[in-house]
């Protein structure tokens, strides 16, 4: 059901037009990767593999991406990406497709 819901959410034409999955994957591994590691096993920032993220739901994780974690080096990505993109990245990390 969850993936259906995501499809339903992301399937709206306006959002689908804005999303570039290849560019987002590249962003996750290359740019998130500068702190979390290219393979997302962690670095200065924490491990982002499925088992370590298990306590997050999609919306919660998207909100961490968008608004950052105050008091840590995790910056808010909201100036650089849309809500739909953050949700896409959260889903990408939580399904383990990123590994």
């Amino acid at each position: 059901m969850r993936s259906l819901l995501v499809l339903a959410l992301l399937g709206t034409p306006a959002l689908a037009d804005d999303l570039d999955p290849e560019a987002l994957k590249r962003l996750v591994h290359q740019d998130c990767g500068s702190c979390h590691g290219l393979t997302l096993k962690g670095g200065l920032g924490p491990d982002l593999r499925v088992e370590t993220l298990a306590h997050y739901d999609r919306e919660g994780l998207a909100s961490v991406i968008l608004y950052g974690v105050p008091g840590t080096p995790m910056p808010p990505w909201e100036p650089l990406m849309s809500d739909a993109e953050a949700l896409w990245i959260a889903e990408y990390l939580l399904t383990g497709e990123s590994e």
Partner: protein, 382 residues
């Protein structure tokens, strides 16, 4: 008799081949290809790639140091791999996976020991440069950053979580550790000056840096530029700056600010601020050309397609250009006539003349990041 005859012939052949093909490594270098776990052997004078050496593991954020004879490189991978690469035979000469998550390394002044800085398990491990056997394990209980070599077979490194700097003296049988507390909140990287005297740690958790005089019997941290952010809310930092490419231009340091689009100028003698230059974005590297006349600056995502060149006399930006998407690193030729720039998302290394800023060449490379010329072998703290 025949076997002996053949053996002698083979020896003679091998001998002449070795004599005939002397390979000089003084103008060679290695480029990290971060996504494929390879390094590209390059020739600075020919502006060309010579060979690709594969099988080095996860090379995101990888760096390397050279043996004193400039034959071997020790490559520090993110996955904890320490790989010894033979530039002459163009092959891996040894490899150990020494930790789960590593961040960089250094080689001792005598070339005998290679130290690796680890995030997981946090600490520093020290290896025999010939055999890669571990000779010392220094757990810190903290992510370690800013590992450098200093004279007297010593290494200096800093603890991200604990805000301490440790000096490990390997001149005797056992590692002697000196711990210096109170370096500040979340030091993210550090540099040492070319004479090995001044160690400066940049802080992420507060506005400012901390300096140590390593010539002091009992070094104490000294605040540098406390409150340089003037209490303003820091801008988001999408990539942590590096201090490895620190710039000592004349009598001043040039350092990237954190959470501000500026480089900061600091008097090298008394650590007071001597100026600021507004930049295009969050600086990642601020690197002085070897003569100190220019400082080249690249930037964090999403402004990482641009380089600015600052004149160190006027502190003004004198040149701006866009080499391409995701400029990750810059390396000057030893006397600074050219600079090599890795442009990750263009899969290219671009080469520029530093006087005219004209492009001199380009080399294909797969997601290139760090560029390291062998001349680094003869410099401290790199």
């Amino acid at each position: 008799m025949k076997p002996l005859h053949l053996t002698l012939a083979a020896l003679a052949l091998a001998g002449s081949a070795a004599m005939g093909e002397t390979i000089a490594t003084g103008d060679l270098g290695l480029v990290i290809e971060r996504t494929t776990g390879a390094v590209l052997l390059v020739d600075q004078s020919d502006r060309a790639a010579l060979a690709r050496i594969e099988g080095l593991g996860d090379l995101s954020h990888a760096s390397l140091v050279y043996s004193p004879d400039q034959r071997f490189a020790y490559v520090f991978g993110r996955d904890g791999g320490l790989t010894k690469v033979d530039l002459v035979e163009r092959r891996i000469a040894g490899r150990v996976v020494q930790a789960g998550n590593a961040i960089g390394g250094a080689i001792s002044d005598d070339g005998a020991l290679v130290a690796v800085s680890n995030y997981e398990p946090g600490g520093v491990r020290i290896f025999d440069a010939v055999t890669l056997e571990m000779v010392a394990d220094i757990p810190t209980g903290s992510k370690t950053i800013g590992l450098v070599d200093v004279p007297g077979r010593r290494f200096v490194f800093t603890l991200w979580d604990a805000g301490e700097t440790w000096i490990a003296d390997l001149s005797g049988d056992e590692a002697q550790i000196t711990k210096i507390t109170g370096m500040g909140k979340n030091p993210y990287d550090a540099l040492v000056t070319a004479n090995g005297r001044t160690y400066i740690a940049g802080l992420f958790g507060e506005d400012g840096l901390s300096a140590l005089d390593l010539w002091d019997e009992d070094p104490k941290p000294r605040q540098v530029l406390p409150g340089y952010g003037r209490g303003e809310e820091p801008l988001p930092v999408y990539k942590m700056p590096h201090l490895e490419g620190w710039a000592l231009a004349g009598a001043e340091f040039v350092l990237p600010a954190v959470g501000r689009h500026e480089v900061l100028w600091v008097d090298a003698r008394d650590f007071t601020e001597t100026g600021r230059t507004a930049t295009h974005g969050q600086p990642v590297f601020a690197m002085a050309r070897p003569d100190g006349r220019q400082v080249w600056v690249n930037f964090a995502h999403p402004l990482n397609d641009t380089i600015q060149v600052i004149d160190t006399v006027t502190k003004q930006v004198v040149h701006v250009f866009k080499p391409g998407p995701a400029v990750l690193h810059m390396e000057f030729t030893p006397r600074g006539h050219e600079v090599w720039v890795s442009v990750r998302d263009a899969d290219k290394i671009m080469i520029y003349d530093t006087q005219s800023f004209e492009k001199r060449g380009e080399i294909d490379a797969d997601s290139p990041s760090g560029i390291f010329f062998t001349a680094r072998a003869h410099r401290m703290g790199l």
